[in-house]
């Protein structure tokens, strides 16, 4: 369904109450299913202020010849127990929002499913079942909407981002597929990223050379493309992106790019960088010559 939405840009509807039973339920240990709760009620944990910061680990599972056969996702719960979920190779886990950790997968047995676990209560629940192949999904800070990025089942073409209203079940295309820049090659991995205030969502496919970024202002629904060559985004604010440099290998640069596409180098010879939610989004940048921090 979302595939056709991606092409037509129309609205469609799905109701979680009508979600069919999982065709091949995942084996989930350590958490409790919360069958009696609807997705919207369940997802309110994303807006909790009293947050249990979970330890989320995804470990590769490999076969005899080193091939990836899947993952084991473990989420430390406030109950002292641990959610342990086997995942197929086509799967993801999103960054924790409030007390909610969203994860999902696609497999021939189950199709695409998006689940979430309330790390405080230990409950987990199926919250969406996209028709296309889900690549990633994030929930908003209010726990009202789930944003799903998917590719088509036939041909794996980008289907953009759909917003699943967890109360009504309405599914709406909010970001159209990003037309691949032929100069950048294949889009290999797409990220969904919230800005530091949770008011804007970026979808960002990356090739081996560079990333393309499209930003949705959640309140207005407006979408803008960032027209500057850059690598993966580390974090972004209401006015700027902080990204790795594009193209020429590593060590690389960290760039500050405003929404009009003007870029400046913030740090050079960068080995890694991350954003600290605990310090208001301060960037921690590891360079050849040592650590440094940048305040967005």
């Amino acid at each position: 369904m979302i595939g056709s939405l991606g092409l037509a840009g129309l609205l469609a509807f799905a109701f979680f109450s009508a979600l069919p039973a999982s065709r091949a339920p995942l084996s989930i240990a350590g958490a409790t299913t919360c069958e009696a709760r609807d997705a919207a009620t369940f997802a309110r944990a994303a807006s909790d202020h009293d947050v249990w910061q979970a330890n989320v680990v995804r470990q590769d599972l490999t076969g005899d010849r080193g091939e990836l056969t899947g993952y084991v996702l473990t989420v430390g719960l406030s109950t002292g127990r641990q959610l342990s979920v086997p995942q197929p190779p086509e799967s993801f886990v999103a960054e924790q929002v409030g007390n909610l950790v969203v994860y999902g997968h696609d497999s021939p047995a189950t199709g695409s499913e998006v689940h979430a676990v309330d790390v405080r209560s230990g409950c987990h629940q199926l919250i969406a079942r996209p028709e296309d192949v889900v690549r990633s999904a994030v929930i908003d800070a209010g726990g009202q909407n789930l944003y799903v990025h998917s590719v088509s089942r036939a041909g794996r073409s980008d289907q953009g981002v759909a917003r699943h209203d967890l109360s009504s079940g309405q599914v709406e295309q909010v970001i159209q597929p990003i037309r691949r820049d032929p100069a950048l090659g294949r889009g290999w991995e797409t990220a969904l990223l919230w800005n530091l205030t949770g008011t804007a969502l970026a979808v960002e496919p990356c090739t081996m050379m560079a990333c393309q970024t499209r930003i949705l202002d959640v309140a207005s629904g407006s979408v803008r493309d960032i027209r500057a060559e850059h690598g993966p985004t580390i974090a972004f604010t209401d006015t700027n992106l902080f990204t790795f440099g594009a193209g020429d290998g590593w060590p690389t640069e960290v760039l500050k790019i405003d929404f009009h596409g003007s870029a400046q180098v913030v740090a050079s010879e960068v080995i890694s960088a991350s954003v600290s939610r605990r310090t208001a989004g301060e960037l921690m940048i590891e360079t050849i010559s040592g650590m440094r921090t940048v305040t967005p």
């Binding site: 590719v151 090659g185 290999w188 193209g247 290998g249 590593w250 060590p251």
Partner: protein, 349 residues
């Protein structure tokens, strides 16, 4: 020699301003970028191990080791040599922990100390591609698979200091002129041309030669280069005392250049001819192919018996299959009127 006692030879002085070596557009655009980091020592042996917990399976380990050997064998420059050693500081990991959009990644290199390289696991799912397929995983490569040897060689190219071939460098003369493609169509998969290329292409070699110098003075310069050369010609009485014979010595080098690494480098084992122009003549005529000394000095020698007022010069023609330009020495003049008391040939007779 007495017969030509009145003859005086003057060694013409080389052009006052050294020529500037020229690099064609391709190699200029593809030259190492600002973030290419420092350089390894000349011919430095850089050993690597597998990162603990992320050891590659045997088929991937073999591919990486093959790429390391091929890097050494095909670099044609004094670039680093790579070799596996379980006690090494540098490491290579078989892992999915890497930047988005990559199947191979060189997150760190700190010449002359160490480097780190990562290669993704077989089966990792990519947006447009689906599960990543390494060609070495199956006995027969499947369409769309990526050759681990080629990708590992590409990553080792990064370790050497090469960035991706940039858009501005296109079109390369040939697709297989580099394994450092970044921009489209980017990494080549089976069965695209060059999908299993396990050698540095000539434009990779060009960059390595610009950065590290050719492996030996006799090493051919990449066809992706077009470097100016310089010939000097000197003469002295023939040590074998052939009647009237003069021993000419030509020295072939890379001209003074923007590329300070190569400027002045001796060029051995090429074809340099000694030419003569008769007095009043308008054409330079090949007399003899000079013998390369191949001693690392770029010198070539020939014996000739000059006639009065002849002019002599050494000539290096543009060789096929190599990125060097033609050059000639300044004429060596017989019977010049401007006697130079310091000229070593003054006392020949």
């Amino acid at each position: 020699m007495k017969n030509i006692a009145a003859i005086r030879y003057i060694i013409a002085v080389a052009a006052a301003v050294a020529c500037v070596a020229s690099v064609p557009n391709v190699s200029e655009a593809a030259s190492p970028t600002s973030n290419s980091g420092g350089s390894w020592a000349r011919n430095q042996l850089v050993e690597y191990r597998w990162r603990e917990g992320d050891e590659p399976p045997s088929w991937m380990a073999a591919a990486i080791n093959h790429a390391a050997a091929r890097s050494t064998a095909t670099r044609e420059a004094k670039a680093a040599r790579f070799s596996y050693n379980p006690a090494a500081v540098s490491w290579i990991a078989y892992t999915n922990d890497m930047a988005r959009g990559a199947i191979g990644w060189t997150p760190y290199k700190d010449p002359p100390n160490d480097f780190r390289v990562k290669l993704r696991k077989q089966g990792y799912v990519l947006d447009d591609v689906g599960p990543l397929e390494w060609c070495q995983f199956t006995e027969v490569p499947t369409p769309g698979c990526f050759d681990a040897e080629m990708i590992a060689l590409h990553e080792l190219g990064h370790v050497q200091g090469m960035g991706h071939v940039r858009r501005s460098a296109y079109p390369l003369p040939n697709w297989t002129d580099s394994v450092m493609h970044g921009y489209p169509p980017g990494v080549r998969s089976h069965p695209r041309e060059g999908w299993d290329q396990d050698w540095f292409g000539p434009c990779d070699v060009a960059r390595l030669q610009l950065k590290y110098e050719p492996l030996l003075p006799s090493t051919r310069y990449s066809t992706c280069l077009s470097l100016k050369t310089k010939l000097d010609l000197t003469a002295r009485p023939d040590p074998a005392e052939v009647e009237g014979g003069i021993q000419f010595t030509a020295t072939l080098k890379i001209a003074g250049s923007e590329n300070t690494v190569l400027a002045g480098d001796a060029i051995d084992d090429r074809r340099v001819v000694l030419q003569r122009r008769r007095q009043g003549g308008s054409r330079w005529i090949d007399q003899v192919v000079m013998t390369p000394l191949d001693d690392g000095t770029g010198r070539y020698r020939a014996i000739a018996v000059p006639a009065p007022n002849d002019k002599w010069r050494a000539r290096f023609r543009k060789p096929g299959g190599e990125g060097l330009r033609a050059t000639s020495s300044d004429p060596y003049v017989l019977g010049d009127e401007n006697e130079d008391p310091d000229d070593p040939l003054v006392d020949f007779y």
